[in-house]
Protein backbone atom coordinates (compact mmCIF):
# COMPACT_ATOMS: atom_id res chain seq x y z
CA UNK A 1 0.00 0.00 0.00
CA UNK A 2 2.83 2.32 0.74
CA UNK A 3 4.23 1.84 -2.72
CA UNK A 4 1.05 2.36 -4.64
CA UNK A 5 1.12 5.58 -6.64
CA UNK A 6 -0.54 8.35 -4.71
CA UNK A 7 -3.02 9.39 -7.35
CA UNK A 8 -4.40 5.87 -7.48
CA UNK A 9 -4.80 5.83 -3.72
CA UNK A 10 -6.45 9.24 -3.67
CA UNK A 11 -9.00 8.23 -6.29
CA UNK A 12 -9.72 4.93 -4.53
CA UNK A 13 -10.15 6.62 -1.16
CA UNK A 14 -12.40 9.26 -2.63
CA UNK A 15 -14.52 6.64 -4.38
CA UNK A 16 -14.82 4.67 -1.16
CA UNK A 17 -15.93 7.71 0.82
CA UNK A 18 -18.40 8.54 -1.91
CA UNK A 19 -19.98 5.11 -1.56
CA UNK A 20 -20.16 5.61 2.20
CA UNK A 21 -21.72 9.05 1.89
CA UNK A 22 -24.34 7.90 -0.61
CA UNK A 23 -25.46 4.98 1.55
CA UNK A 24 -28.82 5.58 3.20
CA UNK A 25 -28.34 5.89 6.90
CA UNK A 26 -30.67 3.06 7.82
CA UNK A 27 -28.56 0.42 6.07
CA UNK A 28 -26.74 -0.39 9.29
CA UNK A 29 -25.17 -3.58 8.01
CA UNK A 30 -23.52 -1.70 5.19
CA UNK A 31 -21.62 0.50 7.59
CA UNK A 32 -20.39 -2.49 9.51
CA UNK A 33 -19.14 -3.89 6.22
CA UNK A 34 -17.34 -0.64 5.40
CA UNK A 35 -15.69 -0.59 8.79
CA UNK A 36 -14.52 -4.16 8.29
CA UNK A 37 -13.04 -3.26 4.91
CA UNK A 38 -11.12 -0.37 6.45
CA UNK A 39 -9.85 -2.64 9.20
CA UNK A 40 -8.48 -5.03 6.59
CA UNK A 41 -6.77 -2.16 4.79
CA UNK A 42 -5.31 -0.91 8.05
CA UNK A 43 -3.86 -4.31 8.82
CA UNK A 44 -2.40 -4.71 5.35
CA UNK A 45 -0.89 -1.25 5.48
CA UNK A 46 0.46 -1.93 8.95
CA UNK A 47 -1.07 1.19 10.42
CA UNK A 48 -1.43 0.90 14.17
CA UNK A 49 -4.78 1.53 15.88
CA UNK A 50 -3.09 4.00 18.21
CA UNK A 51 -2.05 6.11 15.24
CA UNK A 52 -5.56 6.13 13.87
CA UNK A 53 -7.07 6.99 17.24
CA UNK A 54 -4.63 9.81 17.78
CA UNK A 55 -5.31 11.42 14.45
CA UNK A 56 -9.06 10.93 14.74
CA UNK A 57 -9.24 13.57 17.45
CA UNK A 58 -10.00 16.12 14.73
CA UNK A 59 -13.54 14.94 14.49
CA UNK A 60 -14.49 15.51 18.14
CA UNK A 61 -16.42 18.77 17.54
CA UNK A 62 -18.72 17.10 15.10
CA UNK A 63 -19.24 14.08 17.26
CA UNK A 64 -20.38 16.50 19.95
CA UNK A 65 -22.70 18.19 17.49
CA UNK A 66 -24.11 14.85 16.43
CA UNK A 67 -24.61 13.83 20.03
CA UNK A 68 -26.70 16.92 20.68
CA UNK A 69 -28.92 16.53 17.64
CA UNK A 70 -31.34 14.06 19.22
CA UNK A 71 -32.07 16.64 21.87
CA UNK A 72 -32.54 19.67 19.69
CA UNK A 73 -33.94 18.39 16.45
CA UNK A 74 -37.52 18.67 15.37
CA UNK A 75 -39.77 15.81 14.43
CA UNK A 76 -41.50 12.95 16.12
CA UNK A 77 -40.14 11.85 19.48
CA UNK A 78 -39.17 8.45 20.75
CA UNK A 79 -38.50 7.24 24.24
CA UNK A 80 -34.93 6.10 24.84
CA UNK A 81 -33.79 5.19 28.33
CA UNK A 82 -36.27 7.55 29.84
CA UNK A 83 -35.34 10.45 27.58
CA UNK A 84 -37.56 11.93 24.95
CA UNK A 85 -35.48 12.28 21.84
CA UNK A 86 -36.16 13.25 18.27
CA UNK A 87 -36.21 10.23 16.01
CA UNK A 88 -34.91 12.24 13.12
CA UNK A 89 -32.27 13.68 15.39
CA UNK A 90 -31.08 10.24 16.43
CA UNK A 91 -30.84 9.09 12.85
CA UNK A 92 -29.15 12.30 11.79
CA UNK A 93 -26.67 12.05 14.64
CA UNK A 94 -25.89 8.49 13.69
CA UNK A 95 -25.55 9.54 10.07
CA UNK A 96 -23.02 12.18 10.89
CA UNK A 97 -21.00 10.08 13.29
CA UNK A 98 -20.76 6.98 11.13
CA UNK A 99 -20.09 8.68 7.83
CA UNK A 100 -17.78 11.27 9.33
CA UNK A 101 -15.80 8.63 11.19
CA UNK A 102 -15.46 6.32 8.21
CA UNK A 103 -14.32 9.30 6.16
CA UNK A 104 -11.78 10.32 8.76
CA UNK A 105 -10.36 6.82 9.10
CA UNK A 106 -10.11 6.44 5.34
CA UNK A 107 -8.26 9.76 5.13
CA UNK A 108 -5.95 8.75 7.94
CA UNK A 109 -5.07 5.53 6.16
CA UNK A 110 -4.36 7.47 2.99
CA UNK A 111 -2.16 9.95 4.81
CA UNK A 112 -0.30 7.29 6.78
CA UNK A 113 0.77 5.50 3.62
CA UNK A 114 1.75 8.48 1.50
CA UNK A 115 4.77 10.74 1.98
CA UNK A 116 4.63 14.34 0.94
CA UNK A 117 6.61 13.97 -2.26
CA UNK A 118 4.38 11.13 -3.44
CA UNK A 119 1.37 13.23 -2.53
CA UNK A 120 2.58 16.07 -4.73
CA UNK A 121 3.21 13.78 -7.66
CA UNK A 122 -0.21 12.24 -7.14
CA UNK A 123 -1.98 15.56 -7.05
CA UNK A 124 -0.10 16.64 -10.15
CA UNK A 125 -1.12 13.45 -11.90
CA UNK A 126 -4.72 14.22 -11.11
CA UNK A 127 -4.49 17.32 -13.28
CA UNK A 128 -4.47 19.77 -10.42
CA UNK A 129 -3.52 23.22 -11.83
CA UNK A 130 0.29 23.38 -11.78
CA UNK A 131 0.36 26.61 -9.83
CA UNK A 132 -1.60 25.03 -7.00
CA UNK A 133 0.74 22.05 -7.01
CA UNK A 134 3.70 24.40 -6.69
CA UNK A 135 2.15 26.34 -3.85
CA UNK A 136 1.39 23.04 -2.14
CA UNK A 137 4.99 21.90 -2.64
CA UNK A 138 6.34 24.97 -0.93
CA UNK A 139 3.78 24.75 1.82
CA UNK A 140 4.64 21.12 2.58
CA UNK A 141 8.35 21.85 2.47
CA UNK A 142 8.18 24.85 4.77
CA UNK A 143 5.27 24.08 7.08
CA UNK A 144 7.67 22.34 9.43
CA UNK A 145 10.16 25.21 9.25
CA UNK A 146 7.51 27.82 10.04
CA UNK A 147 5.92 25.87 12.89
CA UNK A 148 9.41 25.32 14.29
CA UNK A 149 9.97 29.07 14.15
CA UNK A 150 6.71 29.58 15.99
CA UNK A 151 7.65 27.06 18.61
CA UNK A 152 11.02 28.68 19.13
CA UNK A 153 9.40 32.10 19.51
CA UNK A 154 7.05 30.67 22.14
CA UNK A 155 9.98 29.14 24.02
CA UNK A 156 11.86 32.44 23.87
CA UNK A 157 8.80 34.29 25.19
CA UNK A 158 8.26 31.87 28.04
CA UNK A 159 11.95 31.88 28.90
CA UNK A 160 11.51 35.53 29.68
CA UNK A 161 8.65 34.90 32.04
CA UNK A 162 5.70 35.42 29.74
CA UNK A 163 2.57 33.48 30.65
CA UNK A 164 -0.48 33.26 28.43
CA UNK A 165 -3.99 33.63 29.79
CA UNK A 166 -4.71 37.29 30.16
CA UNK A 167 -5.99 39.70 27.57
CA UNK A 168 -2.69 41.50 27.20
CA UNK A 169 -1.19 38.27 25.94
CA UNK A 170 -3.05 38.61 22.69
CA UNK A 171 -0.95 41.60 21.71
CA UNK A 172 2.33 39.83 22.49
CA UNK A 173 1.35 36.66 20.68
CA UNK A 174 0.11 38.69 17.75
CA UNK A 175 3.40 40.53 17.56
CA UNK A 176 5.21 37.23 17.42
CA UNK A 177 2.82 36.11 14.72
CA UNK A 178 3.51 39.31 12.82
CA UNK A 179 7.24 38.72 13.08
CA UNK A 180 6.66 35.13 11.97
CA UNK A 181 4.84 36.32 8.86
CA UNK A 182 7.64 38.72 8.00
CA UNK A 183 10.25 36.00 8.43
CA UNK A 184 8.23 33.53 6.40
CA UNK A 185 7.58 36.03 3.63
CA UNK A 186 11.23 37.08 3.49
CA UNK A 187 12.21 33.43 3.34
CA UNK A 188 9.83 33.08 0.41
CA UNK A 189 11.64 35.92 -1.32
CA UNK A 190 15.00 34.26 -0.70
CA UNK A 191 13.67 30.96 -1.99
CA UNK A 192 12.57 32.78 -5.12
CA UNK A 193 16.05 34.26 -5.54
CA UNK A 194 17.59 30.81 -5.07
CA UNK A 195 15.22 29.39 -7.68
CA UNK A 196 15.95 32.12 -10.17
CA UNK A 197 19.67 31.67 -9.56
CA UNK A 198 19.34 28.13 -10.84
CA UNK A 199 17.38 29.03 -13.90
CA UNK A 200 13.76 28.87 -12.74
CA UNK A 201 11.55 29.94 -15.59
CA UNK A 202 8.07 29.40 -14.16
CA UNK A 203 7.46 25.67 -13.80
CA UNK A 204 8.64 23.55 -10.92
CA UNK A 205 9.93 20.31 -12.42
CA UNK A 206 8.62 17.41 -10.36
CA UNK A 207 10.03 14.24 -11.79
CA UNK A 208 7.30 11.71 -12.23
CA UNK A 209 8.28 8.08 -12.62
CA UNK A 210 5.37 7.64 -14.97
CA UNK A 211 4.83 3.93 -14.82
CA UNK A 212 1.86 2.76 -12.80
CA UNK A 213 2.34 -0.90 -11.85
CA UNK A 214 -0.12 -3.13 -13.67
CA UNK A 215 -2.14 -4.36 -10.73
CA UNK A 216 -2.24 -1.03 -8.91
CA UNK A 217 -5.53 0.25 -10.25
CA UNK A 218 -7.08 -3.15 -9.81
CA UNK A 219 -6.08 -3.65 -6.22
CA UNK A 220 -6.93 -0.05 -5.38
CA UNK A 221 -10.36 -0.46 -6.89
CA UNK A 222 -11.04 -3.33 -4.57
CA UNK A 223 -11.77 -1.04 -1.65
CA UNK A 224 -14.51 1.07 -3.21
CA UNK A 225 -15.66 -1.86 -5.33
CA UNK A 226 -16.19 -4.20 -2.42
CA UNK A 227 -17.76 -1.38 -0.46
CA UNK A 228 -20.25 -0.74 -3.22
CA UNK A 229 -21.16 -4.39 -3.54
CA UNK A 230 -21.56 -4.84 0.18
CA UNK A 231 -23.48 -1.61 0.52
CA UNK A 232 -25.97 -2.46 -2.18
CA UNK A 233 -26.40 -5.91 -0.72
CA UNK A 234 -27.01 -4.61 2.78
CA UNK A 235 -29.47 -2.04 1.55
CA UNK A 236 -31.34 -4.62 -0.46
CA UNK A 237 -31.45 -6.96 2.49
CA UNK A 238 -32.73 -4.23 4.76
CA UNK A 239 -35.50 -3.01 2.48
Amino acid sequence: MHDMPAHVKIVATFAFVLVVVLTPRTAFLAFAWYAALLAVVAVRARVRPATIARRAVVEVPFVVFAALLPFVALGERVEVAGLSLSRDGLLAGWNIVVKGTLGVVASILLAATTDSRALLVGVQRLRCPPQLVEIMAFMLRYAGVVTDDMRRMRIARESRGFTAGHLGHVRVVAQSAGALFIRSFERGERVYVAMVSRGYTGRLPLVDDGAVPAGAWLSAAMLPGLALVGGVLAWWLAS
Binding site: D115, S116, R117, L120, A137, F138, L140, R141, Y142, G144, V145, R187, R190, V191, V193, A194, M195, V196, S197, R198, G199, Y200, T201, L204, P205, L206, V207
Partner: protein, 261 residues
Protein backbone atom coordinates in the same frame (compact mmCIF):
# COMPACT_ATOMS: atom_id res chain seq x y z
CA UNK B 1 47.66 48.21 -7.84
CA UNK B 2 44.42 47.61 -9.67
CA UNK B 3 42.58 44.42 -9.23
CA UNK B 4 43.64 43.19 -12.64
CA UNK B 5 47.27 43.82 -11.87
CA UNK B 6 47.04 41.94 -8.62
CA UNK B 7 45.42 39.00 -10.34
CA UNK B 8 48.05 39.02 -13.06
CA UNK B 9 50.76 39.20 -10.44
CA UNK B 10 49.62 36.12 -8.59
CA UNK B 11 48.76 34.05 -11.57
CA UNK B 12 50.03 34.57 -15.11
CA UNK B 13 47.09 35.34 -17.38
CA UNK B 14 45.87 32.21 -19.10
CA UNK B 15 44.35 32.62 -22.56
CA UNK B 16 40.82 32.23 -21.17
CA UNK B 17 38.91 35.35 -20.10
CA UNK B 18 38.73 35.99 -16.37
CA UNK B 19 35.95 34.12 -14.56
CA UNK B 20 34.78 37.36 -13.01
CA UNK B 21 35.38 40.89 -14.13
CA UNK B 22 33.72 43.66 -12.16
CA UNK B 23 34.44 47.25 -13.20
CA UNK B 24 33.40 50.35 -11.30
CA UNK B 25 30.26 48.79 -9.90
CA UNK B 26 27.90 51.13 -8.03
CA UNK B 27 24.45 50.34 -6.67
CA UNK B 28 21.75 51.90 -4.49
CA UNK B 29 18.72 50.10 -3.04
CA UNK B 30 15.18 51.28 -3.94
CA UNK B 31 14.88 53.03 -0.58
CA UNK B 32 17.79 55.26 -1.56
CA UNK B 33 20.55 53.68 0.48
CA UNK B 34 23.69 53.35 -1.61
CA UNK B 35 25.59 50.11 -0.94
CA UNK B 36 28.35 49.98 -3.55
CA UNK B 37 30.48 52.95 -4.50
CA UNK B 38 32.59 51.70 -7.38
CA UNK B 39 33.90 48.15 -6.96
CA UNK B 40 36.69 46.72 -9.08
CA UNK B 41 37.41 43.02 -9.00
CA UNK B 42 38.99 40.53 -11.37
CA UNK B 43 39.18 36.82 -10.68
CA UNK B 44 40.99 34.51 -13.05
CA UNK B 45 39.85 31.00 -13.82
CA UNK B 46 40.92 28.49 -11.24
CA UNK B 47 41.63 31.04 -8.53
CA UNK B 48 40.25 30.78 -5.07
CA UNK B 49 39.56 34.24 -3.70
CA UNK B 50 38.22 35.15 -0.30
CA UNK B 51 36.03 38.21 0.08
CA UNK B 52 36.24 39.72 3.53
CA UNK B 53 34.51 42.64 5.12
CA UNK B 54 32.46 43.69 8.09
CA UNK B 55 28.70 43.30 8.08
CA UNK B 56 27.15 46.00 5.96
CA UNK B 57 30.26 46.44 3.84
CA UNK B 58 28.37 45.39 0.72
CA UNK B 59 29.52 41.80 0.23
CA UNK B 60 26.12 40.21 -0.27
CA UNK B 61 24.98 43.12 -2.46
CA UNK B 62 28.00 42.61 -4.67
CA UNK B 63 27.41 38.88 -4.86
CA UNK B 64 23.82 39.38 -6.01
CA UNK B 65 25.14 41.36 -8.97
CA UNK B 66 27.23 38.46 -10.14
CA UNK B 67 24.27 36.49 -11.40
CA UNK B 68 22.02 39.35 -12.28
CA UNK B 69 19.62 39.26 -9.36
CA UNK B 70 20.44 42.92 -8.86
CA UNK B 71 21.10 45.20 -11.80
CA UNK B 72 24.05 47.56 -11.59
CA UNK B 73 23.26 51.20 -11.35
CA UNK B 74 26.66 51.96 -12.81
CA UNK B 75 29.55 49.87 -14.05
CA UNK B 76 29.76 46.41 -15.61
CA UNK B 77 30.00 42.79 -14.56
CA UNK B 78 31.36 40.10 -16.88
CA UNK B 79 31.42 36.38 -16.31
CA UNK B 80 33.93 34.53 -18.50
CA UNK B 81 33.68 37.37 -20.95
CA UNK B 82 29.88 37.47 -21.10
CA UNK B 83 28.25 40.62 -19.77
CA UNK B 84 25.62 40.25 -17.07
CA UNK B 85 22.62 41.71 -18.85
CA UNK B 86 19.04 40.71 -19.44
CA UNK B 87 19.45 38.75 -22.69
CA UNK B 88 22.26 36.63 -21.26
CA UNK B 89 20.78 35.88 -17.88
CA UNK B 90 20.02 32.14 -18.34
CA UNK B 91 23.59 31.48 -19.42
CA UNK B 92 24.98 33.75 -16.71
CA UNK B 93 23.01 31.81 -14.14
CA UNK B 94 24.52 28.62 -15.39
CA UNK B 95 28.00 30.05 -15.19
CA UNK B 96 27.70 31.58 -11.73
CA UNK B 97 26.82 29.11 -9.00
CA UNK B 98 25.54 30.98 -5.96
CA UNK B 99 25.36 29.05 -2.69
CA UNK B 100 23.36 31.04 -0.15
CA UNK B 101 23.92 31.22 3.55
CA UNK B 102 20.75 29.44 4.67
CA UNK B 103 20.49 26.04 2.98
CA UNK B 104 16.78 25.91 3.85
CA UNK B 105 16.22 28.75 1.42
CA UNK B 106 17.95 26.79 -1.26
CA UNK B 107 16.68 23.25 -0.70
CA UNK B 108 13.08 23.82 -1.66
CA UNK B 109 12.30 20.55 -3.39
CA UNK B 110 10.82 17.50 -1.64
CA UNK B 111 13.92 15.31 -1.90
CA UNK B 112 17.68 15.75 -2.31
CA UNK B 113 17.61 14.23 -5.77
CA UNK B 114 14.82 16.55 -6.90
CA UNK B 115 16.72 19.54 -5.63
CA UNK B 116 20.04 18.72 -7.25
CA UNK B 117 18.17 17.97 -10.47
CA UNK B 118 16.35 21.31 -10.39
CA UNK B 119 19.15 23.31 -12.01
CA UNK B 120 20.03 20.84 -14.79
CA UNK B 121 16.36 20.31 -15.55
CA UNK B 122 15.95 24.01 -16.08
CA UNK B 123 18.87 23.77 -18.50
CA UNK B 124 16.98 21.15 -20.46
CA UNK B 125 18.62 17.93 -19.35
CA UNK B 126 16.52 14.81 -19.07
CA UNK B 127 16.76 11.08 -18.65
CA UNK B 128 20.12 9.32 -18.34
CA UNK B 129 22.11 12.49 -18.85
CA UNK B 130 20.24 14.17 -16.02
CA UNK B 131 20.76 11.21 -13.71
CA UNK B 132 24.47 11.14 -14.46
CA UNK B 133 24.81 14.82 -13.72
CA UNK B 134 22.97 14.45 -10.41
CA UNK B 135 25.07 11.45 -9.39
CA UNK B 136 28.29 13.27 -10.20
CA UNK B 137 27.30 16.35 -8.25
CA UNK B 138 26.26 14.36 -5.19
CA UNK B 139 29.46 12.33 -5.37
CA UNK B 140 31.54 15.53 -5.43
CA UNK B 141 30.10 16.50 -2.04
CA UNK B 142 29.98 12.94 -0.70
CA UNK B 143 26.20 12.87 -0.33
CA UNK B 144 25.46 10.11 -2.81
CA UNK B 145 23.66 7.75 -0.44
CA UNK B 146 21.24 10.43 0.76
CA UNK B 147 19.74 11.08 -2.64
CA UNK B 148 16.21 10.08 -1.77
CA UNK B 149 15.91 11.68 1.62
CA UNK B 150 13.92 14.78 2.46
CA UNK B 151 15.93 17.91 3.29
CA UNK B 152 14.57 18.29 6.80
CA UNK B 153 15.92 14.88 7.72
CA UNK B 154 19.49 15.98 7.07
CA UNK B 155 21.84 17.70 9.44
CA UNK B 156 22.75 21.30 8.83
CA UNK B 157 26.15 20.44 7.43
CA UNK B 158 24.63 17.86 5.11
CA UNK B 159 22.10 20.41 3.86
CA UNK B 160 24.94 22.81 3.14
CA UNK B 161 26.64 20.17 1.05
CA UNK B 162 23.48 19.31 -0.85
CA UNK B 163 22.97 23.00 -1.60
CA UNK B 164 26.46 23.04 -3.08
CA UNK B 165 25.75 19.92 -5.09
CA UNK B 166 22.66 21.59 -6.52
CA UNK B 167 24.85 24.37 -7.80
CA UNK B 168 27.69 22.12 -8.98
CA UNK B 169 25.22 20.13 -11.03
CA UNK B 170 25.00 23.09 -13.37
CA UNK B 171 28.73 22.88 -14.08
CA UNK B 172 29.39 26.52 -13.29
CA UNK B 173 32.36 28.61 -14.23
CA UNK B 174 32.62 30.11 -10.79
CA UNK B 175 31.31 29.00 -7.43
CA UNK B 176 30.30 31.82 -5.10
CA UNK B 177 29.78 30.81 -1.48
CA UNK B 178 28.16 33.08 1.10
CA UNK B 179 29.41 32.29 4.62
CA UNK B 180 29.76 28.56 4.00
CA UNK B 181 31.18 27.74 7.42
CA UNK B 182 28.68 29.57 9.61
CA UNK B 183 26.99 27.22 12.10
CA UNK B 184 29.14 24.26 11.09
CA UNK B 185 30.74 22.05 13.69
CA UNK B 186 34.53 21.51 13.34
CA UNK B 187 34.21 18.19 11.55
CA UNK B 188 31.71 19.48 9.02
CA UNK B 189 33.93 22.51 8.49
CA UNK B 190 36.92 20.33 7.75
CA UNK B 191 34.89 18.19 5.36
CA UNK B 192 33.78 21.31 3.55
CA UNK B 193 37.38 22.47 3.20
CA UNK B 194 38.34 19.10 1.75
CA UNK B 195 35.50 19.24 -0.75
CA UNK B 196 36.40 22.74 -1.88
CA UNK B 197 40.03 21.80 -2.27
CA UNK B 198 39.07 18.89 -4.49
CA UNK B 199 37.06 21.00 -6.92
CA UNK B 200 38.61 22.43 -10.04
CA UNK B 201 36.18 25.33 -10.36
CA UNK B 202 36.94 29.01 -9.63
CA UNK B 203 35.83 29.93 -6.12
CA UNK B 204 34.79 33.22 -4.56
CA UNK B 205 34.40 32.74 -0.85
CA UNK B 206 32.53 35.39 1.10
CA UNK B 207 33.34 34.79 4.72
CA UNK B 208 34.06 36.00 8.26
CA UNK B 209 35.95 32.83 8.95
CA UNK B 210 39.47 34.16 8.50
CA UNK B 211 41.34 30.91 9.24
CA UNK B 212 39.14 29.16 6.67
CA UNK B 213 39.94 31.86 4.14
CA UNK B 214 43.62 31.48 4.88
CA UNK B 215 43.46 27.71 4.50
CA UNK B 216 41.67 27.72 1.16
CA UNK B 217 42.34 30.97 -0.65
CA UNK B 218 45.67 32.27 -1.81
CA UNK B 219 44.21 35.70 -2.44
CA UNK B 220 41.81 37.85 -0.53
CA UNK B 221 39.84 40.98 -1.27
CA UNK B 222 38.59 43.24 1.50
CA UNK B 223 35.41 45.25 1.04
CA UNK B 224 34.66 48.24 3.25
CA UNK B 225 31.89 50.83 2.90
CA UNK B 226 31.09 49.68 -0.59
CA UNK B 227 34.58 49.74 -2.13
CA UNK B 228 37.53 47.36 -2.32
CA UNK B 229 40.14 48.60 0.13
CA UNK B 230 42.68 45.79 -0.11
CA UNK B 231 43.48 43.08 -2.58
CA UNK B 232 46.42 40.83 -2.00
CA UNK B 233 47.83 37.53 -0.78
CA UNK B 234 45.76 36.25 2.11
CA UNK B 235 48.65 35.64 4.46
CA UNK B 236 49.94 39.16 3.96
CA UNK B 237 46.57 40.78 4.57
CA UNK B 238 45.84 38.75 7.66
CA UNK B 239 49.23 39.49 9.17
CA UNK B 240 48.47 43.21 9.21
CA UNK B 241 46.49 43.11 12.46
CA UNK B 242 46.28 46.88 12.91
CA UNK B 243 44.89 47.42 9.44
CA UNK B 244 42.38 44.63 9.96
CA UNK B 245 41.12 46.18 13.15
CA UNK B 246 40.54 49.51 11.44
CA UNK B 247 38.19 47.77 9.06
CA UNK B 248 36.38 45.80 11.77
CA UNK B 249 38.10 42.51 11.04
CA UNK B 250 39.80 40.39 13.66
CA UNK B 251 41.48 37.04 13.79
CA UNK B 252 40.04 34.56 16.26
CA UNK B 253 41.58 34.55 19.71
CA UNK B 254 44.81 32.62 19.81
CA UNK B 255 45.10 32.21 16.04
CA UNK B 256 48.27 33.39 14.35
CA UNK B 257 48.79 33.07 10.61
CA UNK B 258 51.75 30.90 9.61
CA UNK B 259 55.00 32.86 9.53
CA UNK B 260 55.57 32.44 5.80
CA UNK B 261 52.42 34.53 5.22
Amino acid sequence: MTSQEVAAELRPSPPTPPSLEVRDLAYAYPDGRQALFGVDLTVQRGERVAMLGANGAGKTTLVLHLNGILTAGHGTVRVAGLEVAKPHLPEIRRRVGLVFQDPDDQLFMPTVRDDVAFGPMNLGLRGAELDARVEAALAAVAMGEHADRAPHHLSFGQRRRVAMAGVLAMQPEVLVLDEPTSNLDPVARRELAEILQSLAVTVLLVTHDLPFALQLCERCVVLSDGVVVRDGPTGEVLADVEWLRRHRLELPFGFAPPADG
